[in-house]
């Protein structure tokens, strides 16, 4: 082997492997798009031209997709608002409070990130059936709040760790009351983290399936639950259509995140710098 070809092998081969692996991650997800456009009424690639019938089927109220989207939106918005409020209060309190209590509580609060959700599902089926909250809006929303809090706490906590504690000391020495300090000194400074926390909480609830599967039946059908039953029941191309819509929303969201959000963050940091 000449030194040149060896160099090529050492540099080029890892790069090629990495791009093949990236394709393995990205390309399979895209397969839902052509399947959604099939002109046949079973899962297949388009045969004689494309058709938008399966997207039209999503809009049909009786097919059940629209009601489940609205259910998921409602629960996700309620869970995001509650989880963000509770998490912001906790994160601020823990940032200010001196003592061991917040750090112990933080470990417990973050544990849903690592404890398998199936264990929590077993516990909640038991508790909700005792309290009569199975298959109710309240029951699902409470569970989603609990599961959304860890990411909200992390996002808001990250914002707080960039906040200068001397700001609070200054406010206190100038005689501001506690309510003023929390509401008008700390809170306005952690708006970006709080917004990020709310978005993450919304996504957690919107995507939640494992626990929801056990604590709902026919009454509350969230979108993930509807997708779950359709995958199990049949091979309906409407499933590919809803998957395509979700993929499109994800891609738009990511592009916004990678362009607009970064620009806002840059402008903010420039602003702070001046």
């Amino acid at each position: 082997m000449t030194p040149r070809s060896r160099r090529l092998l050492e540099r080029g081969l890892p790069k090629l492997v990495a791009w093949l692996l990236l394709a393995f991650l990205f390309v399979p997800v895209l397969v839902v798009i052509p399947v959604a456009l099939t002109d046949r009424d079973y899962l297949s690639l388009p045969n004689n031209g494309i058709s938008f019938d399966h997207f039209a089927a999503l809009a049909n109220w009786r097919a059940g997709w629209m009601p489940s989207i609205l259910t998921s939106l409602g629960i996700a918005m309620a869970s995001a608002v509650i989880a963000t409020a509770v998490s912001a209060a906790f994160a601020i309190g823990a940032w200010v409070y001196v003592g061991r209590w917040p750090s112990i509580l933080r470990v417990i609060l973050l544990s849903p990130l690592i404890v398998p959700p199936i264990i929590y599902a077993v516990g909640m089926v038991r508790l909700w059936s005792k309290l009569g909250l199975l298959d109710t809006w309240l029951g699902v929303t409470i569970v989603h709040v609990i599961l959304a809090m860890p990411l909200a706490v992390l996002a808001i906590g990250a914002s707080l760790s960039n906040l200068d504690p001397r700001l609070v000391q200054a406010a206190r020495s100038l005689g501001a009351r506690p309510a003023t300090i929390f509401g008008r000194v700390i809170l306005p400074n952690i708006v970006p983290g709080t917004v990020a926390g709310a978005i993450l909480a919304f996504i957690v609830s919107w995507d939640e399936i494992t626990v929801t599967l056990f604590i709902t039946s026919r009454g509350i059908v969230t979108l993930p639950r509807k997708i779950w039953t359709s995958i199990a029941d049949a091979v309906d191309p409407a499933l590919a259509a809803i998957a395509t819509v979700m993929l499109a929303v994800t891609i738009v969201g990511l592009i916004l995140r990678m362009t607009v959000w970064d620009r806002i963050a840059q402008r903010r940091s420039r602003h702070d710098f001046q």
């Binding site: 929590y120 997708i227 995958i231």
Partner: protein, 279 residues
């Protein structure tokens, strides 16, 4: 306690009440039920070790999780390593290809794999159509399909963890190795790899824990033929109503997760990584 500190304490109370009453308590109840349902004693745990069906489920779970973890870590490391060496513009494209599957619903991903891998799916049609194989291959509803789906689910997590670790490595160390005459292969095995051990360990830990308790992807891509612990628990509480077995298996799962984390925290490098992440 000053009034300011009292205020701060009060702010942590709602979160504390919520998690303690509606997260910790239900899980403690699961642990308790495993010793009391249907009769008080260790009967459920004896059954766990004597029942052949449960033994098979546990073996499947351990095997699938182990294969998934090894494949995920090796493949993710290759991607993360390439990411660190990319020019920024190319890296944005590559990160985008990682983040799309990361954020898309796990159900959409499992569904996509079914359309690709099933008997008359996209891949088999292409293979049979091109004459590469005469019969469609059995690619899904078996361990192969479950492992493909799980590796695809876990890789974005592992890539993000490994990339964060690799991009913290001081590039001057690599330059020093190169200027001292080390060849690329020995730079990789004697500099990059040892320095990425904390990242590899943390990613491995997360992937093992996620795999052991994973319900959705094994259930959809295994379709009952690859029964893992989470799906077995779900069958016990929703169809056969054997609460004792379900809670005992849940307790064992929780115990294994706890032991894995405790073991990981003994390693100083991992502890540093965890505490670093906590800042």
């Amino acid at each position: 306690m000053t009034s300011f500190q009292r205020w701060a304490f009060c702010l942590t109370v709602p979160a504390a009440l919520l998690t303690l009453c509606l997260y910790v308590l239900p899980i403690l109840q699961v642990l308790a039920l495993s010793f009391t349902e249907p009769t008080v004693g260790l009967g459920n745990y004896v059954a766990l070790f004597q029942n052949a069906a449960i033994g098979r489920v546990v073996r499947t779970t351990v095997f699938v999780s182990a294969v998934t973890t090894v494949l995920t870590i090796v493949m993710s490391y290759a991607v993360a390593f390439a990411l660190v060496h990319m020019p920024p513009a190319t890296r944005r494209v590559a990160l985008f290809m990682v983040m799309v599957p990361f954020w898309i619903s796990v159900l959409v991903r499992a569904f996509a794999w079914i359309t690709i891998l099933r008997r008359n799916g996209v891949l088999n049609s292409a293979l049979v159509g091109s004459g590469a194989v005469s019969q469609p291959l059995e690619l899904v509803y078996n361990q192969f399909g479950v492992i493909v789906g799980m590796v695809h689910y876990m890789m974005p997590f592992a890539i993000m963890l490994l990339y964060a670790n690799l991009s913290e490595i001081d590039l001057r160390i690599i330059q020093a190795a190169r200027s001292l005459g080390a060849r690329p292969v020995s730079i990789f095995f004697r500099v990059w790899l040892p320095l990425s051990m904390p990242g590899l360990a943390i990613a491995g830990l997360f992937i093992v824990i996620f795999s052991l308790g994973f319900l959705v992807t094994p259930a959809i891509l295994g379709a009952g033929r690859v029964l893992m612990v989470a799906e077995y628990i779900s069958v016990q509480i929703s169809s056969t109503l054997r609460w004792g077995v379900a809670t005992a298996l849940s307790t064992m799962l929780l115990l294994v997760v706890g032991i894995l984390i405790a073991l990981a925290m003994r390693s100083p490098a991992l502890r540093a990584a965890f505490e670093g992440g906590r800042k």
